[in-house]
Amino acid sequence: MKLDSKIPEGPLAEKWSKYKANQKLVNPANKRKLDIIVVGTGLAGASAAASFGEMGFNVKNFTIQDSPRRAHSIAAQGGINAAKNYPNDGDSVHRLFYDTVKGGDYRAREANVHRLAEVSNDIIDQCVAQGVPFAREYGGLLDNRSFGGAQVSRTFYAKGQTGQQLLIGAYQALMRQVNAGTVNLYTRTEIVDIVMVDGKARGVIARDLVTGEFQRHFGHAVVLATGGYGNTFFLSTNAMGSNGSAAIKAYQKGALFANPCFAQIHPTCIPVHGEFQSKLTLMSESLRNDGRIWVPKKKEDVDAIRAGKLKPKDIKEEDRDYYLERRYPAFGNLVPRDVASRAAKERCDAGFGVGATGLAVYLDFKSAIERLGEDAIRARYGNLFQMYEKIVDDNPYETPMMIYPAIHYTMGGIWVDYELQTTIPGLFAAGEANFSDHGANRLGASALMQGLADGYFVLPYTIQNYLADDISTPRMTGEEKEFVEAEKTAKDKFAKLLAIKGNRSVDSIHKELGLVMWDFVGMARTKEGLETAIEKIAAIKKEFYSNVRIPGSSEGMNVELEKASRLADFIEIGDLMARDALNREESCGGHFREEFQTEEGEAKRQDDKFAYAACWQYQGEEKAPELIKEDLTFEVVKVAQRNYK
């Protein structure tokens, strides 16, 4: 297969304008005749569904939650980037583009990233018009703050609840369309397969999670906006229901899965504390604006702290190792996430970690509180401090927070071209579900930007270019043989899972998978470790299909059955992640192969061999996937070793 990324000709900064000037359109009368299925109601899904509805298409929008407003975009805390340059600190579209490509360790497609930077400003305008209550200065204008990987303040925020406010904005726009009758909303409904007719995506098989009934839905096009697959690790900052199943269904139908090994490990999460733990809670990157990260310099202090004989505030200033400020003086505590996470791991591996397990470092607000006062810190981060205190039972105004890296976001995902279309005609992917904009590492406050860019400002154009050729395709009824067969296959899969009647709960197997992923496909990877992971994952797959126990039946609500069907797909993703990590013999961004590092322990890329997106093509059950490469060419960005020193 030869991949065509369909990047428009011409200078980088003009590509998107040229595309828009030349794309095909669908007239209003024809829009009414066209159906679009949107799977997911997070930032990308809700913004796309609302925009399509406003344009006059018929939209069917699906969510596994009881309401679109629950999608996990809601949990994003810190902010959203845009190149507005309101603070007059030298920002521009070009600089946001450049920072994003560099932050992604030169593994993203230039043209997509430039478009993202171009539309970033429109997003802020749109959200303000919707009534998103962004933070403001006393003069009434919008406030900004800094995030990792940038030397400008370009992050807009709404307290520590930016994702919530942006999602509510998109959700309200969506509900306006539901009221107008252009969007039909299907809540508590999960997509269990994609229906293909004559090589094109023409619909989905859905399962009503309340009744257990299967449904057939036709669409002239299908958009997957189903988020990332971080929950492969069981413990992550993702919501419990976040899953990669729609992506795996697309992959098994022929869409390519690109860069699965690029997973982001976020440096500032509340550390793991027990085997009953169900998820990890993120403490926003925005805290690194004012918090300083350190561990003790002396081993004896470490031991005394772990034994409870010393408290962190007893450690004198000169006995503290502010290791990020020491190693990266130019960016200090605001280095990108991958760099900060590895630095924390390095200190803990060297024996300087704190907390009961030794797997934690301090995030300290002492100097910020001395400089600005406790009230100022409370105004900026009050809800985050409260969240921390409720979980850990410690007051972060008085004692430093303890943090450790955790799986947070997946840069990899379904391969899409410039139009966000997968290799299956009529199947599109948006937001975290696609692979397109963040390369090997995403910068903070860029996920919200990408989700809304795709949904509000990219898909509404590119999907028309596809649908313009489809205006004479009549609606299908769902009685066609392709729909009937797809439903039968899906039903059989669920029946097969229920018939296993083994001895182990879904969660116990998922936790086992998670540990393998964390140990061998986590922050530091090696050839041997990855080979071990592939073997262990195969054994877990066997165990799952022979020994999982799912009480109840497929009729009515059955939460264990839902979890089992998602775990079956996480196992496939885990295998793909390990294979991709094994193939990529270099370190870049969130992917760190121990064999490839500089003398100072920094990631060492192999640009001559691996300047490509690794796209995996499904070859059938029990067969190894085939690797297809999309070469990345850099016309504008000067590829260099990332330097945050």
């Binding site: 913004s47 609302a50 406003e54 939650q65 009881d66 309401s67 679109p68 407003r69 629950r70 999608a71 809601i74 507005k84 309101y86 749109q126 303000v128 018009a129 919707q130 009534g131 209550p133 962004f134 933070a135 403001r136 003069g139 009434g140 709404a158 994702g163 919530q164 406010q165 309200q172 726009a173 509900m175 539901v178 009221n179 809540t187 309340v210 919501a239 419990m240 504390h273 027990g274 009953f276 733990q277 169900s278 998820k279 809670t281 993120l282 969240m387 409720k390 979980i391 039972d393 509000y456 400002f457 709960s505 879904v506 969660d507 126990r549 009480p551 009515g556 609500m557 939460v559 264990e560």
Partner: protein, 251 residues
């Protein structure tokens, strides 16, 4: 400090909307006080699955207090015996060794039970669909800094907008009123110039939908404000009433 406690749980089990429902009693041993309430429920469910029984169905997702999915009436309080938290943020250190904990779904005419502890809150979506937005479509909007907004107004709008739509206000209200939820949305948008334009119409349409869906009236008991995990203020209800009256006068 972490320690382990033994618990007796009285959990509401109801197999579907038409089932009558009943309490079942379960024993749990050695639950870490560092675990969250929902992690305790996970432990219970793991135990039930291992016994071959059906686990307890309950709503949850983000487990960090923002998605609004988790609910539960715990020992007679929505979101349980801690202030300013959702059930997922409630930790077992708030309970004593040997304690009996009663766990029920939200009980309200507006929120019918789907299964066990899961209720249907789609009425909230219908109320938002009736007018809880600004009528702007994608594109063609002014620059974000074109209209300055006083910081105090923006902050107050943010406080109202922090509602997570969990429904604790309805569940705790003796009248089953959704006034705190509706007023939070009406206030959030009415405080901003972008939402001011439609404020009166919005209030009227949302209140009409709320009444139509069978939620009760507000009699100012203030219980909703006490139980709101996001501390949404009851003063929003006064603002809703003002906007509602304006709409009435305009008619």
């Amino acid at each position: 400090m972490e320690n382990n406690i033994n618990l007796t749980l009285k959990v509401w089990r109801q197999n579907g909307p038409k089932d009558k429902g009943r309490f079942e009693t379960y024993k749990l041993e050695k639950v870490s006080t560092d675990s969250s309430f929902l992690e305790m429920m996970d432990i219970l469910n793991e135990q039930l699955v291992n016994e071959g029984s059906e686990p307890v169905a309950f709503d949850h997702d983000c487990r960090e207090g923002i998605c609004g999915m988790c609910s539960l009436y715990i020992n007679g309080r929505p979101h349980g015996p801690d202030d300013d938290v959702t059930t997922c943020q409630l930790h077992m250190r708030k309970f004593k060794d040997g304690e009996t904990i009663t766990i029920e779904p939200w009980r309200s005419a507006g929120f019918p039970v789907i299964k066990d502890l899961i209720v249907n809150r789609s009425a909230f979506d219908q109320i938002i669909a009736a007018g809880g937005y600004t009528s702007v479509s994608t594109g063609g909007v002014p620059d974000a800094n074109a209209i300055p907004i006083p910081k105090d107004d923006a902050d107050e709008a943010m406080d109202a907008a922090s509602c997570i739509g969990c429904g604790a206000c309805v569940a705790t209200c003796k009248n089953g009123s959704a006034m705190l939820f509706v007023s939070a949305k009406v206030s959030h948008l009415a405080l901003l110039p972008q939402g001011k334009v439609e404020a009166a119409r919005r209030a009227k349409n949302m209140v009409a939908k709320m009444d139509e869906l069978g939620f009760g009236n507000c009699t100012n008991t203030g219980a909703c404000e006490v139980e709101c995990p996001k501390s949404v203020s009851i003063s929003n209800i006064a603002r809703l009433n003002r906007e509602f009256l304006k709409a009435k006068f305009q008619d």
